[in-house]
């Protein structure tokens, strides 16, 4: 058991290191450098050389990689080339937009999906089931960024209820901030909820067929009681799995949605950093995002292990 865990943790660290190396290698051979961008069209060879030296760009690639990874290991993300301030601060400020957005989306989608999945499973074959599952089929097909655009069209342009984008900022109060996150979070959540609802429905259906549920029913436990107390908790594993697998999509979706609603989150930061050749920020962000996918998948693996005793027996073997 501990050996299994240890092996997985070592695997996790190696994967993270490999990811950082891939990112560095790809970005290090980019054409165009930040120094020439900062000085613009009137730059001269002497001013360029002076600035490159100032930015530490005359060091070797190997040294820069080593310094970067060593820094990352104890939480130092380096200094942004363009802003000249610690990257950790830049990312920190953007996380305050992206993370609440992603959490809101996950919460909303789960809150919608689980009841829908349970109800449709309980009413299998009835009109409610057919209607909601038809809607879910459609929901899976709608791209979240288009949904966002439609929301802007309807709620902002037509009705003028909610902002068409931009972020009020947390210092304007939680209500204002959450208001500017509501439409983007909904746009992310609805297609996600459609997928989750389908998974929940089939997982609940499967457990409803299992012996112990039949037994409970035979013992006279009511249908609703069985559903909430037995079937749903057991449907948990597939739902968690899908949430984990979908995490990468959620991340990509967040980046795109931030562009639709012009939110100052990580997604905007990464595009801005690419455009400005602020490589250290791009490197940090890609590693952070890819790293979070790796870590989430690792956690899902662990969750399996916990939720399903059969797996731990396998591992112990």
């Amino acid at each position: 058991m501990t050996r299994f865990l240890l092996r997985r943790v070592i695997g996790l660290v190696l994967t993270l290191l490999a990811a950082s190396l891939v990112v560095f290698l790809v970005l290090d051979i980019l054409p165009g450098d930040p120094a020439s961008l900062m000085l613009g069209t009137a730059a001269r060879p002497d001013t360029l050389a002076a600035l490159r030296h100032q930015m530490g760009f005359d060091q070797s690639a190997g040294l820069r990689y080593a310094l970067w990874v060593a820094g990352l290991a104890h939480g130092d993300f380096g200094i942004s080339y363009t802003y000249g301030v610690p990257v950790a601060g830049l990312i920190g400020a953007r996380v305050m937009v992206s993370l609440p957005l992603a959490l809101m989306a996950i919460t909303l989608s789960t809150l919608i999906a689980i009841p829908v999945g349970a109800i449709t499973a309980a009413r299998r074959g009835q009109a409610v089931d057919a209607g909601l599952m038809g809607l879910a089929q459609l929901g899976v097909a709608v791209p979240n960024f288009w949904l966002g655009l439609l929301f802007i069209l309807f709620f902002s342009v037509q009705l003028a209820w909610l902002p068409a984008g931009g972020f009020a900022g947390w210092d304007k109060g939680a209500i204002a901030a959450l208001r500017s996150l509501l439409l983007p979070a909904l746009a992310l959540a609805l297609p996600q909820a459609a997928i989750l609802a389908r998974v929940t429905r089939s997982a609940v259906l499967e457990t409803l067929d299992q012996d112990y549920v039949r037994t409970a029913l035979a013992k006279g436990v009511t249908g609703a009681g069985v559903l909430w107390r037995h079937a749903l908790p057991n449907a948990f594993i597939p739902v968690v799995t899908v949430l984990g697998l979908q995490f990468g999509f959620l991340l990509a979706g967040t980046v795109i949605i931030e562009n639709v609603f012009s939110l100052p989150g990580l997604g905007r930061l990464i595009f801005q950093a690419v455009a400005q050749r602020d490589l250290i920020v791009v490197q940090d962000l890609v590693v952070l995002l890819a790293g979070s996918v790796i870590v989430v998948n690792f956690l899902v693996d662990l969750a399996y292990f916990w939720l399903d005793p059969r797996l731990s027996r396998d591992a112990a073997r």
């Binding site: 970005l27 097909a141 690419v274 791009v282 890819a290």
Partner: protein
């Protein structure tokens, strides 16, 4: 069973319509999709322009048809890359020893950590944005998907009696894999292909929307949505049609996938 049949027919019809539109656009569109006609810019839908015109006076219907071609070709290549590399890798992992399995699966964990968007950001920074960028980025992400599905399915099939029997009579691992295992899981892989195809269409549109995918003047659905966004105040319909096209395409492919699954694997949902 009835539902499955309906899915298959409906999905097949939508997909056929889509493919037909894409193929037709190669030889005919109502107007040339890149033809600029500034006098008739931002025209509302009419008999002359069924879906209206864009800010440059280009015919939206023609652009959507040409966009179907772009979208389908990106998805086709991306899925081909993913399946072409991922399936052999997955089979290798299933048939090879523990070390091979470990190596393939860890590499696939690594690739899986890079959603197409992150890969596309890096490729675009390196080689510029474009259709090829989208194909590659989505394709790379598809590799671990196919590798995992293939490995999982192959491992479960391999334990079946007749395959154990085949091995017992001295067939080589390769022969067993090619003759017995792969044909047995091909139905499942086909379903996965339709799923990934649908996902690739959404991903392609997303990449084009943020400017990493197909570039002007080649029409693409995602690009059209981006262009439409600054015009939401006086030409809102421009933001509607391309999105409908994407949704319809994905819906068709998903229905087709569901229908295929029900037909090929009656135990499923």
């Amino acid at each position: 069973m009835k539902q499955g049949r309906l899915n298959l027919v409906l999905g097949g019809a939508i997909t056929a319509l889509l493919v037909g539109m894409a193929l037709a656009s190669l030889v005919w569109t109502p107007y040339p999709p890149t033809h600029i006609d500034i006098v008739h810019r931002l025209a509302a839908p009419s008999a002359a322009h069924w879906l209206g015109t864009d800010p440059f006076g280009r015919d939206v219907l023609s652009m959507i048809m040409a966009g179907a071609r772009s979208s389908l070709s990106v998805a086709l290549i991306a899925v081909a890359v993913g399946a072409g590399i991922g399936i052999p890798l997955g089979a290798l992992a299933a048939a090879g020893g523990e070390w091979v399995d470990q190596a393939v699966m860890r590499a696939s964990d690594l690739a899986f950590a890079f959603p197409a968007l992150l890969t596309a950001v890096m490729i675009a920074a390196l080689a510029g944005p474009g259709e090829a960028n989208a194909m590659l980025a989505i394709g790379i992400f598809n590799i671990p998907v196919f590798a995992r599905v293939t490995r999982g399915a192959a491992l479960s099939v391999r334990e079946r009696d007749y395959i154990t029997a085949a091995r017992a009579v001295g067939r080589s691992e390769t022969a067993v894999m090619l003759r017995h295992v792969l044909p047995n899981i091909s139905a499942m892989l086909l379903v996965q292909v339709t799923i990934q195809f649908a996902l690739a269409i959404v991903a392609d549109a997303g990449l084009a929307y943020v400017g990493l995918g197909t570039q002007p003047p080649d029409p693409s659905w995602g690009r059209m949505l981006n262009d439409a966004q600054t015009f939401v105040f006086h030409a809102p319909l421009l933001a509607v049609f391309p999105g409908l096209a994407i949704t319809l395409a994905v819906l068709g492919l998903n229905l087709l996938g569901d229908g295929l699954r029900d037909r090929l694997d009656p135990r499923g949902r």
